[in-house]
């Protein structure tokens, strides 16, 4: 039954200092799905991502990835196992150029443990230029990340996760910090990039236009659990969701 599931979070619980950060949270994601996680501001949607990617370890419950139990496994092993992640605030090597960031991701995938060939002459470096091309950042490849605007950093952050060729990617608010004019363009690019590697995607999102347009499934995070899930139409028309999440 679980074979077709890429990710399955089962009854995750975690509390620090009396605050229940996760309280019986469960979610199942099928291969190829694009799942949006929405929820009220400050509800701790990132906590769920952190639990699934090993940054936080649940006190009870289990996280299954492609049928294997990855509960309590270190983030770097989870990353090597095929789960990529981008962050709400991009986590980049600010002093380096865009391509250097990408090349480090490439080297991480291809084997970082070599100390002879300079990174900039990595035999597969063209692949990274291609990937930057797909997401439309080829022109800034040689610019230091520090000089780029937040929206571009966001994309680079995602591109680094994609460079690992993950089978599942978590994206934490991919369009935050991007002007509303650009967000659809960016999402289009990302969806294209996901298709490129047949990657399953889970993204935390607060923009309902983006959610309704790109998600196959929507899950509502509220009270430390997935309180409701369904198709975008079902969920976005739910009266509770309309009141507490969307705010109409």
């Amino acid at each position: 039954m679980t074979e077709s599931l890429v990710l399955e979070a089962r009854n995750l619980r975690l509390s620090f200092g009396g605050v229940k950060a996760a309280d019986d949270a469960s979610l199942a994601v099928k291969k190829g799905e694009k799942v949006a996680i929405i929820g009220p501001n400050g509800a701790g949607k990132t906590t769920f991502v952190n639990l699934c990617t090993g940054y936080l370890v649940p006190q009870s419950g289990a996280v299954m990835f492609e049928g294997r139990d990855i509960t309590g496994v270190a983030p770097r092993r989870i990353a090597r196992g095929g789960i990529g992640r981008s962050f709400q605030l991009p986590q980049l090597f600010l002093d380096n150029t865009v391509i250097e960031n990408m090349l480090l991701a490439l080297a991480a995938r291809e084997g970082i443990w070599q100390a002879w060939t300079p990174l900039e002459r990595h035999p597969k470096r063209d692949e990274m230029f291609d990937l930057l091309g797909v997401i439309g950042l080829a022109e800034v490849a040689q610019r230091p990340v520090r000089e780029l605007p937040e929206g571009m950093r966001k994309l680079i952050d995602i591109a680094m996760a994609l460079a690992l060729k993950p089978r599942l990617i978590f994206m934490d608010e991919p369009t935050s910090g991007v002007s509303s004019k650009e967000k659809f363009a960016i999402m289009d690019t990302l969806i294209k990039a996901l298709k490129y590697n047949e990657t399953t995607a889970i993204f935390v999102e607060h923009d309902m236009d983006v959610v309704s347009r790109y998600a196959d499934k929507v899950a509502v995070w509220s009270g430390g659990r997935i309180s409701l899930e369904g198709t975008p139409e079902q969920v976005l028309n739910d009266p509770d969701v309309r009141k507490n999440v969307i705010g109409v």
Partner: protein, 301 residues
């Protein structure tokens, strides 16, 4: 027999532990607020001791009451802390708060080197010893062994007074709460509109005064020699790290541990008394990387 050894070791370790505590607590306080590991802290200890000794000699020469040597110790601690500590903070440290922690550490390392020469230039190289405080109070006999009241009671008592005062000030006064707030969460405190520059200066002067006070107390029972600060800084560093940087009560416990550890070693394995503080520090850091009394801090992504 074992209990007696422990009791004697405790009595022996008290004075030493108390002095180390005074120096370490200043180091810890400064780190907590300024986030600087102040290598020059050992110099404040040494200079405090020399200034107190000079006062002591002055008192002896002027024929005033020898009991004045106690207030003179406090006075020299404050003088060193406020004048020299203040000068250092205002002229140098203030300019490096934005820099990498390690660079700050190196700047204080440089200051330490300069202070070493300064001490020699002012006080020369002959050992100073002013025994007025030590000989003034006499001895008490415990289990057939004479202890000097100065080492057994006065020095530890001062340490306890300092500890209690610090606790009171940090918890129950406005300035203390500000200092605590800065120690616990720098950004939040800055956001609350705390005048960081003032808090830093004040903390540094207090921390330096504490080190100088530790030195002043030491001047009553130990020789003042060139290089005395270098040994003390590394020891108080060990205490502060064992306790967890920024932890006041922790420093007291760690200083006692190190004081006791050393004297127990002299009783049981005299070969290894020198190793004790570093071994304690090493083992504690292995088990609790942030020190015994550190508050766990979770980083968010």
């Amino acid at each position: 027999m074992f209990l007696q050894t422990v009791l004697l070791a405790t009595l022996d370790g008290l004075s030493y532990g108390a002095q180390v505590f005074l120096v370490a607590v200043g180091l810890s306080l400064i780190f907590g607020v300024l986030r600087i590991v102040n290598v020059a802290h050992g110099s404040f200890y040494a200079i405090g001791a020399y200034v107190a000794a000079s006062f002591g000699l002055l008192l002896a020469a002027s024929g005033l009451s020898p009991w004045l040597s106690y207030p003179a110790m406090a006075l020299s601690a404050v003088l060193v802390g406020v004048l020299l500590g203040g000068l250092l903070e205002v002229t140098l440290l203030r300019r490096i708060y934005g820099k990498e922690q390690v660079l700050q550490l190196l700047v204080t390392f440089a200051v330490f080197m300069i202070f070493e020469d300064l001490q020699k230039a002012i006080w020369g190289v002959s050992p100073y010893f002013v025994n007025t405080p030590l000989s003034l109070l006499g001895t008490v006999n415990i289990l057939g062994i004479n202890y000097s009241l100065y080492q057994l009671v006065v020095v530890p008592a001062f340490a306890v007074v300092v500890l209690l005062t610090l606790r009171y000030v940090l918890r129950s006064t406005r300035i203390g709460r500000i200092v605590t707030a800065v120690t616990d969460d720098r950004e939040a405190a800055a956001a609350m509109g705390v005048d960081a520059a003032k808090v830093y200066l004040l903390t540094f002067m207090i921390g330096a005064s504490l080190a100088a006070f530790g030195g002043a107390l030491a001047s009553g029972s130990t020789s003042l020699v060139p290089g005395m600060g270098s040994g003390m800084i590394i020891l108080s560093f060990a205490v502060a790290a064992t306790a967890g940087l920024g932890r006041i009560e922790g420093a007291a416990v760690a200083a006692l541990m190190i004081g006791l550890g050393r004297s127990i070693a002299v009783y049981t394995a005299p070969e290894f008394d020198v190793l004790v503080p570093y071994l304690i520090m090493f083992v504690v850091l292995l088990i609790k990387p942030q020190g015994l009394f550190s508050v766990p801090q979770t980083r968010k992504v």
